[in-house]
């Protein structure tokens, strides 16, 4: 009885220790946040850094309110966000489908192997000008940029994970007389979900790169357009504002993918 009590106390201690640690981690995270922004503000005020180039949080904040009020920020944000999400989904989906085709036909995968390597090594943003001329300076070509930048790497990573699924799972299915499609559906695909999710995480970042570059080139609307416009008129407050908004959105998207991960991978 007595021992039980002391054990309970120890457990309580342990839990409160964990909570204390968590609180300190949060504390320092907040400290870094404030030090960064107030340091930035101070340095800009005292002219330690060039306020024309580096602006200041207060100015960014003012501009933020301005742009919210005249509605331009939200419209631009809406464009960029929908392009990114579309490009991201397309890139991941097409990449996975391509990986499935390669898994289906080992012969095809042998044939295409060097081309995948070349396509992967090539900087996809260099295709931007061609895409824009081919598809027109509009949403389609920007989405295409967002997708194309992640599609090949998704194919390679997912295909590798398809190949690495323990062949004994397939053996189990084959003794049940499973077709190749059933093997894919019951074993290969679900076994690769963790890999697919982790490529999703990488693709979040990649799609933002693709879309922003696309908007640089098309230069008509979106956060990328705001950046390039701010650069051209030397309004770096605008550039920094767009950058901060992108950072927030990309983080939110990343968190959503993590949420999906917890939903999808039940067995852990």
């Amino acid at each position: 009885m007595k021992q039980n009590k002391s054990l309970e106390l120890l457990h309580k201690d342990y839990i409160s220790h964990l909570q204390r640690e968590k609180r300190w981690v949060r504390f320092y995270q907040v400290v870094i946040f404030f030090v960064f922004f107030s340091g930035w503000e101070l340095a800009s005020n005292k002219q330690w850094i060039d306020p024309l180039i580096f602006s200041a949080p207060s100015k960014v904040c003012e501009l933020f309110i301005d742009k919210i009020q005249d509605g331009t920020l939200l419209t631009n944000l809406g464009f960029t966000l929908s392009e990114t999400v579309l490009g991201f989904i397309l890139g991941t989906l097409l990449g996975t489908i391509l990986a499935a085709i390669l898994w289906w036909s080992p012969f095809l995968s042998k044939v295409l192997d060097p081309y995948l390597v070349i396509l992967n090594a090539m900087p996809k943003v260099a295709l931007g000008p061609i895409l824009i001329v081919a598809l027109g300076p509009n949403l389609t070509s920007i989405v295409a940029m967002g997708a194309i930048i992640s599609i090949i790497i998704t194919t390679i990573v997912v295909y590798t994970s398809f190949k690495e699924v323990d062949p004994n799972y397939l053996k189990v299915l084959q003794t049940f007389g499973a077709t190749r499609f059933q093997c894919f559906k019951e074993a290969i695909l679900p076994a690769s979900f963790p890999t697919i999710i982790s490529t999703l995480k990488v693709n979040v970042g990649l799609s933002w790169v693709g879309v922003i570059v696309g908007e640089f080139l098309v230069s008509s609307k979106g956060l990328g357009y705001m950046i390039i416009y701010g650069f051209q008129v030397f309004n770096f407050t605008l550039v920094l504002l767009s950058l901060l908004v992108i950072a927030v959105l990309a983080t939110v998207m990343y968190q959503l993918v993590e949420l999906l991960e917890r939903k999808l991978i039940k067995s852990d």
Partner: protein
């Protein structure tokens, strides 16, 4: 009529560097309801032979007749249990045991109920909705047995199914499997490198020699052991005698 008949099976694996003969001139016959073991050192092609019998690999030469007909995988007459349970970790126990029925499109409520009753027999009823990770190694192997038996195979092949378990679990599971198979009157082939396990569980033991794999000698397990459970058999005096006999034979194989 023999239940299973292998005639002059040869099998050769080809790789860029070499051609390796895994099996050479294997001929054997197994009666219905018999439990036989393939015993031998690693590299004697036991697992290859199982895959060939199951119709997963086509032998380079030779023929396999199950009830006087060639084996067609789509008929699912053969159940296969592997070294590890290979339960699908993302499926619940229920989904795992119904997998075979689902794949073959045979699923209906009678078959599903049969699956659940088997699960109950194995003492695992309350784990239906859990995931394999939540079960111990022995429990998982029992689920794998249910998954195999649900398909009502005519021939059951066990590829070292106990080798990944701890000793105590292994002994218990040997008894359970032996009893279950006997009660269903199933014909079974057990692949193992454990002499004791082969003696305790089977009616006949095929001793294989390695490189290339061929049948070296066939032992018949004495009658007095056959009626016993594997655990009791291990304590019988004839067990020790046969063990010594097989041991010597294995030694002489290695000396060659």
């Amino acid at each position: 009529m023999n239940f299973l008949k292998l005639e002059h099976i040869h099998h050769t694996y080809f790789s860029k560097a070499s051609a390796t003969t895994a099996l050479s001139d294997i001929s054997l016959e197994i009666e219905k309801g018999e439990f036989v073991s393939f015993l031998g050192p690693s590299g004697c092609g036991k697992t290859t032979l199982l895959s060939i019998i199951a119709g997963l690999i086509k032998p380079t030469e030779g023929s396999i007749l199950l009830e006087d007909r060639t084996v067609d995988q789509t008929e699912r007459l053969i159940g296969y249990m592997l070294q590890q349970d290979y339960l699908f970790p993302w499926k619940t126990i229920e989904e795992n045991i119904l997998l075979g029925l689902k794949i073959s499109g045979l699923i209906d409520s009678t078959k599903a109920n049969y699956a659940f009753s088997l699960l109950e027999q194995m003492g695992l009823k309350e784990y239906e909705k859990q995931y394999p990770k939540q079960l111990s190694g022995g429990m998982r192997q029992r689920v794998a047995l249910v998954r195999t038996l649900v398909m009502e195979p005519k021939l059951l092949m066990l590829d070292e199914p106990f080798s990944a378990l701890d000793y105590q679990t292994k002994l218990r599971l040997e008894d359970l499997v032996s009893e279950t198979l006997k009660s269903f009157g199933k014909t079974a082939i057990l692949v193992t490198h454990d002499i004791g396990e082969a003696i305790a569980m089977s009616d006949r033991i095929f001793l294989f020699s390695a490189r290339p794999g061929r049948i070296h000698k066939i032992f018949t397990v004495p009658k007095e052991l056959k009626g016993l459970t594997p655990f009791q058999a291990r304590n019988h005096e004839s067990y020790a005698k046969l063990f010594q006999e097989i041991w010597k034979e294995l030694e002489s194989l290695e000396a060659k």
